[in-house]
Every structure is written in structure tokens, then in C-alpha cells.
Symmetry: C5
């Protein structure tokens, strides 16, 4: 997870609107979907002022704003809704942890969207995007850093005219959007789980083909994922305590919290497995070392006494009677063979070969 | 635990009925048991519509539906009971964690059934099956993925005419079904405990015969088991808070929660032991290495100086007076013997042999 | 801890009376002590029916039943007291975790008694015995698996006519019995603590005399002890909430809970020490390896160049002028001595010798 | 974190004013800022008595006192405000953990300010400074050990005439001051995060260039940072429960608590990564050892048998027929080449080269 | 911490007065301080009965009883105050964990006093002493095992006539006594922290000079200290809930609890550092091994092929044409030099030298 720059905001007035993310050149894009049970109009507008106007309609509106770097426009837009400056800061500050907070009649939900890609070496790479969902009496406004998000499924459902989402009002739409984000967490956890399973299978079969750095990277991604997913559970608690919450939406929030809990538990299970893999890996390193040392020990130990014997009879003393016997050489060779065989037998008994 | 595919459901409408398990070709089977204190009728029906009819009887009915892949039939069936779409999703989504939730007058309990088998190499293999228990005013409907379950004991008790189960109503039957599931967890934990004890005994006697991968696999199974067992405790809390809960069943739920707690504590104890075994194993690897190195060190260190001496008197200098003395050879051999014995003594004093 | 057989009870009707322990052939023994402030009668009876009769007396009775394998007699006895079938199951099922539960006017307390013995190699061996204390308006009934228990001290106090225990009624007697059990935990923890201290002293002085398996066994026993002791604290919470609890007994329960907490904390402290000892042990293994390798390295490294030199002048080239100089031999020896001394100095500077 | 001297205060009367920090010679400096929505006067005064006078104004005053070693002046000043002696002790005792406590109408907030610098070897060095914020009906008094603090940003905002801070009263100013402190924690965490990321990148590429001591130091700094940051969260809970808390400031405190939580979670994530790095490092040490041993094993094992063969034919027995055959030498060399090549092949098959 | 003998008390009647500490021969000493705002009388008495009399005075009395082994006198004394037998047991049983409990109008606080000394090898040694503080309407009675305690500072403050302690009554005096005990914990933690810092500095500079056993001992002392300090926090919770607590003393108890929390957090921080040091140590062992092996590998690997070559030309075959060429010897030496230099280059490229 890119550690967003605390230094960008440190020292600013609390509630001062500053964008802290990495996409500082993203253009601004505003997509509006206005719908009721029967009709749905989708358009892209260029002016946030215009967006404000369409909120006066009796239909439910979803205004999706991309490009958090356009701080001034967003701030002006938020002020028009009398959104608390702290909420604006949360929308723009990409390091805000997931939360849900009521500001008067509006509810702000902040969460990180997540995507998983694979780099050239097939290592998983996590990609987080800061997003906020502001839900009011007749509208939902969403804020995100760049194009591409977890919400196409929601758009598809709206367009398809699924009755529940078209008729259940902004609270349900906000829920559906957060649900789509949590769904993506589940997808990512599942994908990382598959990476972990593959790694584990390799470790169990041919441990030397797994590098500790791969395990480490997996561990780090799980750590990052957990850090982003964990506060979503808490935020749902806060949301459920909201007074204005539409009663029909409550069971869906309960369900979503179960879902988020499941994501966190799956992450924890994978982390536990990864810790186990590190033990496996270290053990396999020790194992390999043991094997290497055993080869050296057996060969060296078997030959060292023999080499000594050859040296012994290679000495140049004048008076070495054995050298001059007829079968001295064969006797020496016999001794060596016996020593060698004895050594082998001893090693075998010790379990070293 | 097969990581069921979050990707199958991600992006679907919440509450959209999709089966996410591995048994996508299982046929559908519906077994009905209708009973009261005096009579019990068991039959297998082919049509869920028919199942619906038999619920109007004054007897208690247990409808057991196998084959979650028949999504449409199940959805239609559930709609007829006005079961909340989220409950239907929970019934079909095999990655739902254990839970108990009230939907109007009905209570839905979700849990994973567990079985333990052993593969060709006698390694334990866990097998989970997603199951749901829906308890209403006069019926219990159960859903499971495939044939074979934890519930034969309940069927036997019903057939045997045990009074309590025949007369205590659907709540008690639902309890008895969950109790049977938890009983299977206890059986599996006990079996894994025996595997752990055997492994431990081997490790303590002949550590080199245990491979770290066996310990790792045991650890993973305990992790998976814990992940499935843990939420059952929470689900019992939710169940006990249910308004409609029949008072006679309450002490049984308390008892079941104690039982579930006991399962989780036993898992934790075994996990702790397994972590200890990893230490044992790593220590035994180090130990073996020490032994190997000691052999090499003793042999090499004893002979290296001797070999040097033989080399010394194997040099071809013209002027090497020792070579030409009468007892030079014997003196050299004497020196070597002394060096060897001195080395031995030194090693013994150092505790290396 | 003997993992008692979940498979014995799995599939039975909840509340079905089955004995799951290891003492399946123990005879049944019923000892009755009837007492008030002034008199105390002790006798052994053979018939539980008779036991029932003596409960009608105005005195307080303590009926101590040994031999849980006599399931039918015990079940009949319990039924006569209208003890809930689940309580009967808890009394007989040796894997029930410690708990206190009210059943109408009776309170059932379940706990494991513990004893420590030492095997032939002076390793500590834990021995658990399942016991239950049922306290009613004028009686206490205790159940245990076999002869020998933690309660002789209570019997002695009764016989000695200690006023408080003779006059404070069944609640106090039940407390005194549980207190005696917890006392034994404290004694066992203390004994294991002494084992740990001795092991630690040995590890600090002569680490190689401690085997990892001894540390492991200690760790396992502490794990088992904790698993048995931990739920006793919870059970005291439940007991203290009991409506029928005699107010004079309450401060004693508070005190007992402090006592149980102290036992658990002491176990945790010892576990922490044991984990530290494993580090000590692994470090000592590494240390020993380092020493071994150092010996090999020093000897081999010092002699290898010398041996090369002797080989050099042992070559049989015709034209090797050094061989024919007068002092070539002495010069060669000088070179060797210098090389040797230089090597020694280098090693000393590197801190290797 | 300098472990401040508990021994300085031990044995003193509770509430006895003693300065326990490291800056015992700091001069005293008192800076006063008096402001309302329209005017702002900044001055430095020399006498705390004078400071007291300016508190009678209708404006809000911020009195910033530097130099906690001037114990008497500070004590006298505090007494004039009827500040509880325990609060005075907290202000002066640099080892007080972060807290917020009400004393009558005044609120005292204690926290450590943090700064990060880098030493000559580019290792991060944390620097903590004890600070206290006393907020009353119309004033805020701050106490700090030495010049240089986290509060220049607040001063700038006051001077810039930002409306909210100029008009929201002392509670908001106190909040802004604590917020500035927490901002600095976030900056430090981010900087340590960058150090960790760089270290991690190096570890993954060229593990041998990272020394364990660097990882250890990073771990220690994160531990210290966590110890200082953790109680700030608790102190915010206490503050929010304060009766006198101005309602407009409450959402800011909520936000600040989220912020502090985020800091602690980021520290925990980095700590987790650092623990992973230690595994990486140890694994790389093992890896290097394996490589070293492999080189030795391959070379030694290949040559030892060859050297034995040369020794064999270097023996001086009279009767060694091979020596006198015509192609004996070439045959011997051939044998050696075959042995060598065979050894290489064997090593390759074993995966050792 | 001396594991006090649970076996001394096991089996005794609860509340039976037994002294379980190590100072079984300590004489009994009773020191009385009677004071009010104006006068203070200190005397030593020999008879506890006399002590009882002086409690009837209107002054506040502090009766300090040393020598818990005088069980009968203490029991009689306590009975005269109608102290609950369980409280008497807590006073005498040295393994009682810290607690505060009300007995009617009296409050009993139990805590371990701690002292740190250094043994001959400058290793820190902890020394705990069981102490109890009994606070009543007009008196404080303290019990301790032997001479020497944490309370001289309190005596000095009383004698010095510090107003608050002379006029605030027994509750405040009891607080001041516990505060003095906690102060000593802080002093000990600080001293252990300094030991840890020194150890850490040595480890970072010259890791081989630190022995794992020193780190282990430090870890154990921190574990023991934590076990004694942890329950003091809980006991303060109980004390604060006391109905009879004098309101002026309450803020002091809050402050003391912060203080105790700080002590526990400092212990935890040091424990974390110590765990880090163990990693450092193990890593340094591996490092040293790597170095040793590298020396051996480099020397052996460089010389082994050379020695082989010398052996080759030391063979005694008749037909070895190279031996008889004019420059064969120099050519052989050249080959060796090239091999040596090539080996060096290879090692340098591999980073092994």
C-alpha cells in the first residue's frame, strides 16, 4: 500500500482540503445516473454546479466524481451540501482509514477499493484506491481517485432495472456500493489464497524452488490487505447505529458485516499459513545444509585416513623395512580397503549414509 | 478447506442466488420425515412443490434437500416460504461463515459439516460441506451439498422413537442437527489430536523420521478447522437471543455452546503443541548437523597433522639428515602416534567425542 | 491429558448418559458423611437408593460416589433428584470443561482434579480426574472416576469438627471441595515451576545436558494444565451469579477466583520462561556448532598450506634446484614455521582462537 | 526514548513538583498570544506573574512556557490557577504517559511531541519532548521542555487569521495543538515507513547489505513510537467524556481519534513488516552459509579421491608393478579424470552444482 | 520470584492462617506512629495487645508489623479487629497476588514490594517482599515479612510534617504507602531498562561479548516483574469502587493507576526489546559461523587443487615425461600460481572474500 504522504497534510488546519494520493494529474469526470423504478438517465457532466441542480429532482441520483486532485471544485461542491470540512478532508485524504460517520442528515462512508494484478514475474501486486460514498436524502455522491472502480456491477444492475436497487433509495444504493467494494476484497483474498496454495504445494514438493522473498511479499500483501479491510467492519457498526438508516437496509448491513468479517478471517487464516511456510522454508534450508555437510563428511572422513597411509609409505626414510617386503604394497592396499569398508559400515550404522 | 470462489458471486446483486461450491453436478434429492410422538413417515419426493404441501400438516416435518447446485428449484422453494433473499444467498454460498439469523418467524442456522479421511500416506484430509438449517413453526428444512452428512444419528433417534426428539418441536430438532455437526467437529479434533500425539511420540523418539511437511499439514488442518468452528460459538449467541426460542430448548443451546467452546479450546491446545513440535524438529535438524560436523572435525583434525608429517618426510631434499638415521622412521611413527593420542585426549576433554 | 473419546458420545442423544473416561472397570463405591455442628456419621453404603433416603435427614449430607462407569445406577440416582439429563451427561462425560450451572434449586460444578507424578526418568506426568459437585438444599453429591482424590483435606476438616465447615451448609461445603481442587492445581504448578527452575539452572550452566524434548514435555504439560484451569475461573463467575448462593459463602468464592486467577497467571509465567528456554537451547546448539567448526577451521587452515609445501618439495622433477642446496630443507622448515605462526597470529587477531 | 529517571521522583510526596527530563539547564521562556476574531497580539514576557494578569482579558490567551526545569516558577504559576498538585507533577514529570484529565473547570492534556532526525549513518533517531496543554475557560497554557516544537503550524494559522481557530475558543485551540502533535507522529511513521521500504527493497535484492542491527534499531524505534502514540487514543476518550467540552469541538476530537488510531495501525503494520524482514535476513544468512558450504563440499569432495590416488602412486614400495608399466602414468591420469567427471555428474544430479 | 509454597497451604481450611514465605525466623517488630496535624509520636512496642489500645486515640495511627512468621500473634490481632479470616490468610500467604478488598469498614490492600540488587557478576537480581496495608476509620496497619521496605519515604514525610499526609487521614496514608511501592517498581523498571540498553549497545557493537543467558535472565526478571505489577492496576480499580473512599483521595488513586499502567507498559516495551535482542544474538551466532566457514572454505578450496598437483608430480611412475623436461618444475609452479590466482578471483567475484 502506498504510504500516502502524511507530510502533505501535517501542519494544515484540520479540515483543510488537500489531496494526498498519487494521481495528481487525473482529469475530473462527473457521471450522473438519475433513476426511479421506471426510468434511468445516465449522462456525463462537466460542471459540478450542474450536478447540484440535478439533486433537486424527485428521482434518486448517483453522482460519481473521479479525480480527487481537483480539490477546489470538490470543496465548493461539498460546501454547497454543507458537508462538514472534516468530511471533506476525509474524502480527499487517501490515508483515511475506512469509516462511516453521520454529518447531519448525510452519511459519509470511506473505504479503500482494492484490485489485484500480477507483475512480470507473476507476483501478486495490490493496488488500493481511496473512495468515499456520501449518502443523503435523495442522492448518493461517490468520490474516487481515477477511472476504473469496483462499481461497474452496481451500474449494470441499475441499468438492468433490477427492482430492489431501483426502488430502495439512497441508503440501499450506498450499501450496494460498499458491498461491491467488499466483494472485491473477497476476490483478492481468494486470489492470494490461490497463490498461497500454489506456493505451499511447491514448498511441500520441491522446497528449494520457493524463495523466501516470495513468501515475504505474500505476507506483506496480506498485512496490507488486513489493514485496509479491518476498519470496514468497524465502520459498519457505526453505520448501523445511524438514526436515519432505512429499516429495509439494516439486514443487508448485517449481512455485509458478516461478509467483511469473513474476509478478515480468511486473511488471518492465510497469514497463519504463510507463517507456517516460513518455518517450512527455513527447515528446508537446514535440511539442504545437512545433506551438503553429510556428503563432505562422508567423503572426507573416508579418504583422510587412506591419504595418511599413502603419505606414510611415501616417506623417504632409508630404513623402512615394509617398503622392501614383497607384498608390502598389497598389504597396504588391503589395509586401505579394510579401512574404507569399515568406515562405510560405521557411517551406515550411524545413519549418515 | 476449499477456498470457494468469491469470484462467482462478486458483482452479483446482494441476495442473488448462486451456488459457489464444488459439487456442481449433484442431482437433487428431497427426503421428508413427518413425525409426531406416535407416528413417523419417511419418504423421498421429487418435487419441491410437493414438499411445500406437506408443511401444512399438523405434524413436525423435516425436509432434507441435497444438491445446492439446483439453484432455481431451491430459490422458488425458499420464496414460497418468504425467506429473505439474503438467507437464500447464505444457503447457497458455501463460503458463508457459520451463523444464526432470524428472518421473521423462521430461524436460519448455517454451519460447515466436517469429515476426516486419511489419504494414501495416512495423512489426515479434512472435508467440509456447507449446510443450512431453517427452522419454522412446524418444520425444519435442511440444505446440503451432497449425499452423506452428520445427521444419520438424528434420523436414527427419530426412527427409534426417542421421546424427547419426537415431541419437542422444530427448535429442538434444529438444535439436535447442529449438535450432530458439532459432535463431528469433536470427533475430528480428537482424531487430529491422536495424529498429533503419534507424531509427537515419534519426534521424541526418532525425530528424523518426522518430516516438517507433515507437521505443517497438521497445522494447516487445525487452522482450517478453527476457522470453521469458531463462528459456531457466535452463532449460538445469536440463536439464544432469538425471541421465538422455545424455553425447553434453551438449556440445550447453553450446553451446545459449552461443547463448541470445548472444541475450539482443544483445537487451540493442539495448535500450541504443533508449534512446539516445529521447535523440536528444527532442534533435531541442528542436532544432526552438529553430529555430522563433529565426525568430520574429529577425523580431519586428528589426521591433518599426521598427513603433514608424512609429507614432511616425503620431501626430496638431498640434505635431510633424519631420513638417514637408523630409527628415524620409528621415531616419526612414534611422533604420529603421540600426536594422535594427544588429539584424542584433547577432544575428549573438550567433550567433542 | 488423555483426550477422551468424543467418538464415544458423538451421535448419541444430547443428554444421553455415557461414561467416556479411561476407568471403565472401576467398581462403584458410595461414601456418606452426615453431619451437623455436633455430630458426624460416616458410612459406606452399597445402594444408591439408600443414599437417597439419607437425604431426607435434617443434617447436611455429603454423598461421594466413585466409579463413573456405573452409568445406570448413577442415571437412576440423578433422575430421582430430577437432575436435568444434560447435567447427568456433564457428570459422566470426562471431556466436559469446568463449569458451574444451576439446575432449578441444585447447582452443578464440574472440574478436573489434577495430580502430578514423576516417571522413571523423573519427568513430570500429569494425571487428570473428572469430578462433579452437585449442591442442593441440604446435601452435596460428588462424583469421581476412581479412588484417590483432592478431598481428603475436606474430610479431615469435617472429622476434626472445624466449626465453619460443619455449620455453613452445603454451599460452603461445595466451595470447600472446589477450593481443594484448585489448591491441588497450585501445588502442581508449583512443582512444575520447580522442574522449570532446575531445568533453567542446568541450561544456564551446562546447556548441553538439557534435551529439547524435556523442555517440550514441560511446555505440553503447562498447556494441558492451563486448558483445565482456565475454565474454572469462568465457572466461578457463573456460580457467583447464582440466586440461591448463600451470602456467607460469597466472599469465599471471590477469594477462590483470585486463587484460580493466580494459578493461571503462574502457568502463563512458566510458559513464558519455557519459551525462553527453547531459545536458550537453540542458541546453545548453535554455539556448540560454532565451537566445533572453529576447531576444524583452525587446524585445517593452519596445516593445509604446510601440507602443500611438503607436497611441493616431494615432487619428482629432475630439475628442482632447491632440493640440492645444502640448507634447502631447513629453509623449507623455516618457511613452514613462519607460515604456521603467521596463521596463528591471524586467527588470534580475528578472534577465532 | 530516554528512560526518564523514575529514581528522581520515587520517594517524593505524590504531587511533589520535580522535573525529570534531560534539559535541566534550559532557560525559561514565556510567549503569549492573545487573540480574538479581529486582533492578535504576540509578545514574550519574562514574568509568569505577568502572564497571570493577561488571563483576565476577554480575549483568548495562549501562554506557551518553555523550560520545565524552572520548577518553582511553574509551580507558583500553577498554584495561582488552583491546578491540582498531581497535574503539576504530570506537567513536570517527563515520563508521564499521554493522558487527558479534568481538574475542575480546567482540562490537562499530556502528550509527547516527537521528531525524527537521521544520524551520520543515515539511521533514524527519534526525539521525544514532554509537553502539556492546560485548557481553561478563556486560556490555554502549554508547557514544553525546550525550544522547537510541533506547534509552529498552529501559530501560523493564528497569525494568518484563519477564522475557525481565531473564534472557536480555548477547547478548539487545545484540540489544534494536540492535532499538530499527532500530525507529527504521522509524519514520523511515514518516514520510518520509507526507511522500512528501502530496507525491504535492499533485503529482497541484495540481502547481505542489510545488517540485522539496522533492522533491530528500526524495530526499537517503532516500539518506542507505539508506546508514546498508544495512550493518546485513550486520552481522547477521556477528553470526549469531559462535561465542559464545547460541542463544536467534539467532531474534531472524533476525527483526531481516528487519526491517532490510524497512526497506531500504521506502526503495527510496519512492525509486522520488520518482523518479516528479520526472517528474511536470517534466511539469507542460512542461504549464504549453504552456498559457502557447497563450494567447499564440491571442491573438497572432487579432489580428495584424486589426491588419494596421487598419494597411492607416490608410495615408495619396492614392489609396485603398476609404476613400471609403460602407460601406468596415463592410466592413472585417466582414472583421475573419470573420477572427477563422475563426481561432477553426481553433484549435478544431486542439485549441488 | 521465589515460588512460594502452595504446598504449605494446600489442604488447609480456607482462611487458615499460615505464613508461606521464606523468612520463617524473623523476629516480630511493631512500630507505631501516631500523628495529627500538630503532633507525631513514634515508638516501638512489643505487644500487639498494646497496639490495639492505641487505636482508640483520636489521632491517626500507623502500626507497622514486621515478621509474618509470628502467625498466632498476628491472627489474634486481626481477630480483635474482626478482620475476615480470608483477609488474614491473604496477609500471611506470600503468594497472594496484589489486590484490594473491602471487609466491612476496613480496606485491605495486598502488594509485593520489590527491590533490585546486583550479584557478583553484575547481573540484576529481583527481590520481592509480601506486604499488606489495612486501612480503617482511624488507623492503618501494615504487615511485611522483614526489615527494610519501600516506606521510609513515607515515614520521612510524616516526620517532616508535610501537611497533606498529616491531615488527610488513613485513606490517604494507605494510598501514599501503595504509591511508594509502585514508585519502587518504576525505579526497578528503569534500572532494568538501563541494563537492557547497555546490553543492546554491546550487542550492536560487539555481539559476541553478550551471552544468551544474560539476555534470558533479563527476560525472566521482566516476566516476574510484570506478573507482580500487573494485578496492582486491577486492585486500584477495586479500591476506587470502595464506598468508604474519601473523595479527596480519589484523584490520587487515578494518578496512581496511570502510574501503574506506565510501569506495565514500560515492562512490555523492554520485553519487546529483549525479544529483539535474542534475534540479534542468534543472527550474530550465524554470522560468526558464516565467517568461520568462509575462512575454511577459502583456504581449503584454494589449496586443495594445488596439493593435488604436487601429489601428481610426486608419483613414482617410471614413465612420466614431464618430470624430465628442463622447465617442468617451473611450469608446474606457474600452473599452481595461476590456479591460486584464478581461485582468488573467483572467490572475490562470488563475494566470499
Amino acid at each position: 500500500m502506498a504510504q500516502h504522504s502524511a507530510s502533505d497534510t501535517a501542519g494544515l488546519e484540520p479540515g483543510a482540503p488537500v489531496y494526498t494520493g498519487d494521481f495528481k494529474d487525473a482529469g475530473m469526470r462527473v457521471r450522473v445516473i438519475e433513476f426511479d423504478a421506471h426510468t434511468l438517465v445516465e449522462r456525463e457532466i462537466s460542471d459540478l454546479a450542474e450536478a447540484r441542480r440535478c439533486l433537486q429532482s424527485t428521482q434518486t441520483s448517483w453522482i460519481d466524481i473521479t479525480g480527487l486532485n481537483n480539490v477546489e471544485a470538490i470543496t465548493a461542491f461539498c460546501n454547497a451540501f454543507q458537508i462538514h470540512p472534516l468530511a471533506v478532508e476525509d474524502i480527499l485524504n487517501t490515508s483515511t482509514r475506512a469509516k462511516a460517520e453521520e454529518f447531519g442528515r448525510n452519511l459519509l462512508v470511506v473505504a479503500q477499493m482494492v484490485r489485484l494484478s500480477f507483475d512480470a514475474e507473476e507476483h501478486p501486486v495490490l493496488d488500493f484506491e481511496h473512495s468515499s460514498i456520501l449518502s443523503g436524502p435523495s442522492f448518493v455522491v461517490t468520490f474516487q481517485e481515477r477511472d476504473g472502480d469496483s462499481w461497474d456491477v452496481v451500474r449494470r444492475r441499475l441499468r438492468a432495472g433490477i427492482k430492489r436497487i431501483r426502488t430502495s433509495g439512497p441508503d440501499y444504493l450506498a450499501y450496494a456500493l460498499l458491498d461491491a467494494i467488499v466483494d472485491d476484497y473477497a476476490v483478492v483474498v481468494e486470489a492470494l489464497g490461490k497463490v498461497a496454495e500454489k506456493m505451499e504445494a511447491t514448498l511441500l514438493d520441491t522446497p528449494r524452488e520457493v524463495e523466501i522473498s516470495e513468501i515475504y511479499v505474500l505476507r506483506r500483501e496480506l498485512t496490507e490487505l488486513r489493514r485496509a479491510a479491518w476498519p470496514i467492519r468497524d465502520s459498519l457498526n457505526a453505520w448501523r447505529r445511524s438514526e436515519h438508516l432505512d429499516e429495509h437496509t439494516r439486514p443487508f448491513l448485517n449481512d455485509l458485516q458478516d461478509h467483511a468479517t469473513q474476509v478478515v478471517e480468511a486473511i488471518d487464516m492465510h497469514r497463519d499459513l504463510v507463517l507456517g511456510m516460513i518455518d517450512l522454508h527455513l527447515s528446508s534450508l537446514s535440511h539442504k545444509m545437512n545433506e551438503t555437510m553429510q556428503v563432505l563428511t562422508v567423503i572426507a572422513t573416508l579418504f583422510i585416513p587412506l591419504t595418511f597411509l599413502t603419505g606414510l609409505y611415501g616417506m623417504n626414510f632409508d630404513n623402512m623395512p615394509e617398503l622392501h617386503t614383497k607384498y608390502g604394497y598389497y598389504f597396504a592396499i588391503g589395509t586401505m580397503v579394510l579401512t574404507f569398508v569399515g568406515g562405510l559400515a560405521w557411517f551406515r550404522r550411524r545413519g549418515l549414509i
